[in-house]
């Protein structure tokens, strides 16, 4: 059984989901006499191959080309498609980050193979991939089965399977393959790239501190952000706060925002509308701070504080400042 584990990176940094993906590929391979081949597409990325092997791959294939410097679905998709056609892997796994969730369906459609997206568990059943994934905002779990006889593809949700520690004694073959499209063949051109400096993306965050209607204004986010900063976490928000223009949309957690699954989610002044809960209720530990003891957020919380966030949040910030020194 040959398993491809496709790596993703941004501006030279491997996305952590790639290590999680190669780790679950390793688990599947070990249980089924398989091999894990890391696939790395980019420009000046050859050092990532060694790192992929240290994190669990048996070997790596690098497609290094200037056209692949930044993610473009057609350029990366055609390169991966060709490699898959040439190598006929049994399974292709990608991380379910924004790039992976574009690349996987593109390749699946062109290759004519099945795909399970945003999976929280993967196993091999009778020689075939069996994927578990949430649907309906996490309110149901579906087992996805694949038609046999073709390559099977899946993307793995962030933070559901732990990466392996790097083992620098591991070694393996590193080979190369070619890009398929030349720059002239790619209709899409990137005109500008603006990195959001100094922020922790909600997707990567192991701690998120969010504010809702209770923060009562733009300034109200200051203590929420202070707590996030002292914890090394990311700032989040409810739709109510975003719709009131207190904070930009990119911070929105929930049904029409981002789905997150941190280790710790601290909800400050968030009542807990079902659409918000949909985006965060699978967080490992949830702390809710709200004046209203009947707020639905308390139904999903592990720890609750009934009171004024403007008193309790700064107290928490001060306490953690002491403890985490």
């Amino acid at each position: 059984m040959k398993i491809f584990s496709v790596f993703d990176h941004y501006e030279g940094d491997v996305d952590a989901i790639s290590y999680e993906t190669v780790a679950i590929a390793r688990k599947l391979a070990d249980a089924n006499n398989g091999t894990v081949v890391a696939v790395i597409m980019g420009h000046d990325v050859s050092d990532m191959a060694q790192s992929a092997i240290h994190h669990g791959a048996d070997s790596a294939i690098v497609i290094d080309d200037a056209t692949l410097k930044h993610f473009r679905i057609m350029a990366h998709g055609e390169a991966l498609l060709k490699l898959a056609q040439d190598e006929s892997p049994d399974i292709i796994l990608l991380g379910a980050n924004s790039n992976g969730r574009e690349l996987a369906p593109y390749v699946a459609a062109k290759f004519g193979v099945g795909l399970a997206s945003d999976c929280v568990d993967l196993e091999i059943d009778n020689g075939s991939l069996l994927a578990t994934r949430p649907a309906l905002a996490g309110n149901v779990m579906a087992k996805i089965t694949f038609k046999k006889g073709t390559t099977q593809m899946a993307t793995l949700r962030r933070r559901v399977y732990p990466a392996l520690e790097a083992d620098t004694s591991r070694s393996g073959d590193i080979s190369t393959a070619s890009a398929v499209l030349s720059e002239d063949d790619i209709p899409t051109k990137i005109l500008g790239l603006e990195t959001a400096e100094g922020e922790i993306s909600l997707n990567d965050a192991s701690i998120i501190v969010s504010g809702g209607r209770g923060v009562a204004g733009e300034e109200g986010f200051a203590p929420v952000k202070a707590l996030a900063d002292v914890l090394g976490g990311a700032l989040g928000a409810s739709r109510a706060a975003v719709d009131a223009n207190w904070i930009p949309y990119k911070y929105q957690v929930g049904q029409t925002g981002q789905t997150v699954q941190p280790d710790l989610y601290i909800a400050c002044g968030i009542s807990g509308a079902i659409q918000h809960l949909a985006g965060m209720k699978t967080s490992k530990i949830i702390v809710a701070i709200n004046k209203d003891p009947d707020a639905p957020i308390f139904q999903v919380a592990n720890y609750g504080i009934v009171g004024d966030l403007f008193k309790y949040v700064p107290a928490l910030t001060a306490e953690f400042e002491k403890r985490l020194k």
Binding site: L136, M141, T188, T256, I285, L316
Partner: protein, 266 residues
């Protein structure tokens, strides 16, 4: 300029409650809604028609009640919109690739389409596969997570947009025709006017089935699908034994800090 907005009717997650769990909602639920993400796509389509002329055709595949979603769309868009219902028992149990195949055929049948708009994902299946696969099948460029349409150049047949990335933003240009998936930032969907609702209620919406679209039974529905979901269940119940911590802020902070450090989440 011909625009297509893809739309799905989904269960309304606001109906979820102790008595209405996810499985019950999937099975029957209450009133169904237009997938919230698709409302942003339709709004974007209507705005493009307002700026560049033409019409925005709303395509929706589903069971007969999907007509309601299409009427909601027509009520929003009025004369700027048309609607086509993609309905056929043979379409049932299509996976994302079969769905994309059906939508791609319908887009070709609409003809001369410059921009196909879709929401980020559907809130029920949440695969986020279909729009990408439509683009792949039609050989059109795909721009996902679009938060701003900066320019549509009808003469040159190009479009320039801003995409949200996980760690930043990207300004990107591509050729038309293209498929875009859009995010909320593009603009809040408008409300339907009273007249719009009245007109939409009377609208005759054509239905295109497998035969109309020239699709054979083995490339659609359960037959054509490469994945299936035979086992759908409720997720494991989270053990959220709520512990309320009471006291003055500094006392509460001490207790909570102890607990969170003990949980090893900090």
């Amino acid at each position: 300029m011909e625009i297509v907005a893809l739309m799905k009717q989904t269960p309304d997650t606001a109906q979820l409650s102790q008595r209405m769990d996810g499985l019950k909602l999937m099975a029957k639920g209450g009133p169904r809604i237009v997938n919230p993400w698709d409302e942003y796509a339709l709004e974007a389509g209507i705005r493009l028609v307002e700026e560049h002329g033409g019409v925005c055709t709303i395509l929706s595949m589903g069971k007969p009640e999907t007509m309601e979603a299409l009427k909601t769309g027509l009520a929003m868009g009025g004369k700027k919109t048309k609607a086509v219902f993609l309905g056929d028992p043979k379409f049932e149990n299509s996976d994302s690739l079969c769905t994309a195949r059906i939508l791609a055929k319908a887009i070709q049948k609409v003809g001369d389409v410059s921009i196909v708009l879709a929401g980020k994902s559907a809130i029920d299946g949440d695969t986020a596969n279909t729009a990408v696969q439509v683009a792949a099948l039609l050989g059109m460029p795909y721009l996902g997570y679009v938060v701003e349409i900066k320019e549509v150049n009808v003469e040159e047949k190009t479009i320039t947009v801003v995409r949200a990335l996980e760690k930043g933003r990207e300004t990107v240009t591509t050729t038309l025709p293209a498929v875009l998936s859009v995010l909320k930032e593009l603009g809040e969907p408008r409300y339907a006017s009273f007249m719009g609702i009245r007109k939409a209620a009377k609208a005759k919406i054509p239905r295109w089935g497998a035969k109309t679209l020239g699709l054979s039974p083995n490339e659609i529905g359960a037959n054509g699908s490469l994945v299936a979901w035979p086992d759908v269940s409720l997720p494991p119940v989270k053990d959220a034994n709520l512990e309320i911590i009471e006291g003055e802020p500094d006392e509460v902070a001490k207790v909570l800090a102890d607990k969170l450090l003990a949980e090893k989440v900090i």
